[in-house]
Symmetry: C2
Subunit: 358 residues, 2 copies
């Protein structure tokens, strides 16, 4: 019996949890990562440790696996293009290109009539002054167009700041975004298989601390109208991009009742970790199914859930959670604790109260 | 942050699923098995391939891990005794000794007032003739006292058979057991932690095909009286043996309403695989917790379940199950299909209908 082997680019916790889901289906996993003793390699049968531009290592890796996917968005598009000539890669680089660059992302979303925050290309500091005037606002957010995450690569600029000094904190191309007056932040996750079937998770209600996801709640407790609207938005994105895999959409629900798309992640997402214990099929199960050519499955949520991230030294305090009824711990096997580092999460599970989210 | 490392003796599917549960808690796993490319080693960070009597390899293994457990009962007791001098082993060899030998097992059960089928030591063929007379029966089952499983190591002897010829099919010490007129076969699983807390799964209703478990149903659909009686029995065994880990009790429910203990397994069990998708904490989660010194948790069953084993070539027919709503597949990564070999299982999950079983 031929065992299917899946190659995963990236060795972090998303790769680890995907590898564990693959193991349930008897799929062997080969991790490609520049990092030694990565969380994902600890639970996979094979690992290649090499940089993402090492063509010799990439070639050998591609030849050893049947299908390739990636666990995070900061993989060079050229790496995907190179691998694709040897072995199928899902999702393909189109999704990666859109989600790696905030300007391309906003253009894509606006072109398919998905509303985003107001934004402008940054060309010089004058662009910021134009934004203040145009949007009648006294502050904006300046973000790098690439490689930002968890609040890194962004600064707030007030009208009376020394604009030049503030903007110089950011390297590379920049985008100017309007500050949104939002009620809450939500997210949706979807998986789409090779036949075009789509299933969705959420909406999830997300609360951040120091720009890092702190708590996710399902169901989100928002109106049915917004639930349907968010679901429609992510399905549209998945179809337009011909997704084969998983993507996540982060949204703002504004005080005047609009849903604004904030960001696309071309992958499983921290705000979907609750699905590991509250659904029959988790986001990782459907990720594996979608990329490996199997049908995606309705998640079949059986419980309500709250997901609490364990950041940095939070992980030292897990003993009390080990005894809590309804608390299921996931720890990522990272030996070094660093400030702001995601070390694990806890899913707090309770009986299903509402059919709001699937 | 120090990572806990668990050593597991045995590399089969029970070791694999235990290793996956350990991974959720960030525990690293080191597998010790005589088998190359075993199901468990595919998902573990380290493997030692060596026979169970290789003291040099065992010593190195023991020194590389914090705690040791085993995934099946046919580990030599001497191996456990040797390892224990170096590193804690849970459950300890007392449980192994009881469950490795059908005579010791029956004596232990009867001594703590747990009813079993009637049995006799086999000394010569005359013992069988005595049994026929004593039990007023025309047939009995002769079993080897050790190493039997899935119907191997047992024969039925009828009064008019050539007894000597039939019995000679079995090697080694033997036990004579009465044939039980049962309504159904059930099982219970329990986990007991270092503090003495016990949680249980079941009773499960088990149906066999060719002496191999075919289908397990939860809840079992038996009376509350029998549910409580089975629960009491397994708790008594766990306490008497000072269990630190998981054990399984197989029982017969007789036509006249008695519960007879049939067999103890010193480990997680095929009839508990449904818990992976119908409970918050599976039997593997509680196995890891119990042996690693963490508290065991009430399973919190949220769904009803049927578990179907995939035996031998059943595994070639999984595509249709991949699309079935409510069907969750577990495949063990065994490359070679053999007749009677357990290749995987499917959990069919449905909404919880009755509080009968926990």
């Amino acid at each position: 019996m031929k065992t299917l082997t899946l190659g995963i680019l990236g060795g972090g916790q998303l790769g680890r949890m995907s590898a564990l889901a693959a193991a349930n289906l008897g799929i062997a996993v080969h991790i490609f990562t520049p990092e030694h003793n990565s969380p994902a390699s600890q639970v996979s049968s094979q690992t290649t440790v090499a940089p993402y531009n090492d063509e010799t290592a990439l070639k050998k890796f591609a030849q050893s696996v049947d299908i390739i996917t990636y666990e995070f968005e900061n993989i060079p598009v050229d790496t995907i293009r190179f691998l694709k000539t040897l072995t199928p890669v899902y999702p393909d680089e189109k999704l990666l290109e859109v989600s790696q660059d905030r300007v391309i992302e906003k253009i894509f979303l606006n072109e398919i009539n998905i509303e985003t925050t107001r934004w402008k290309n940054y060309q010089s500091d004058q662009s910021i002054l134009d934004a203040f005037q145009e949007w009648k606002s006294s502050a904006t957010i300046i973000k790098t167009t690439r490689f930002g995450y968890d609040g890194k690569g962004q600064v707030k600029v007030n009208k009376h700041d020394n604009i030049n000094e503030t903007v110089r904190l950011l390297n590379g191309d920049k985008i100017i975004e309007d500050i949104v007056d939002f009620t809450c932040e939500i997210s949706m996750i979807c998986a789409r298989d090779h036949e075009g079937n789509i299933i969705t998770y959420g909406p999830m209600l997300n609360e951040h601390k120091n720009h890092i996801l702190h708590l996710t709640t399902v169901p989100a407790g928002i109106s049915q109208k917004h639930v349907h609207q968010a679901d429609k938005m992510i399905r549209k994105i998945a179809q337009k991009i011909d997704l084969k895999g998983v993507l996540t959409l982060e949204l703002f629900l504004t005080k005047d009742g609009r849903l604004l798309a904030n960001e696309i992640a071309p992958r499983t997402h921290n705000s979907g970790h609750w699905s590991m214990n509250a659904c029959l099929y988790s986001q990782f199960d459907n990720h594996i199914r979608a990329v490996c050519g199997f049908p995606v499955m309705d998640p079949q949520r059986h419980s309500d859930a709250k997901m609490l991230n364990l950041i940095g030294e939070d992980i030292l305090d897990i003993d009390r959670h080990m005894k809590k009824s309804g608390a299921y711990l996931h720890i990522y096997g990272k030996s070094e604790i660093r400030e702001g580092r995601k070390m694990g999460h806890i899913n707090f599970i309770s009986p299903k109260t509402s059919p709001t989210a699937s």
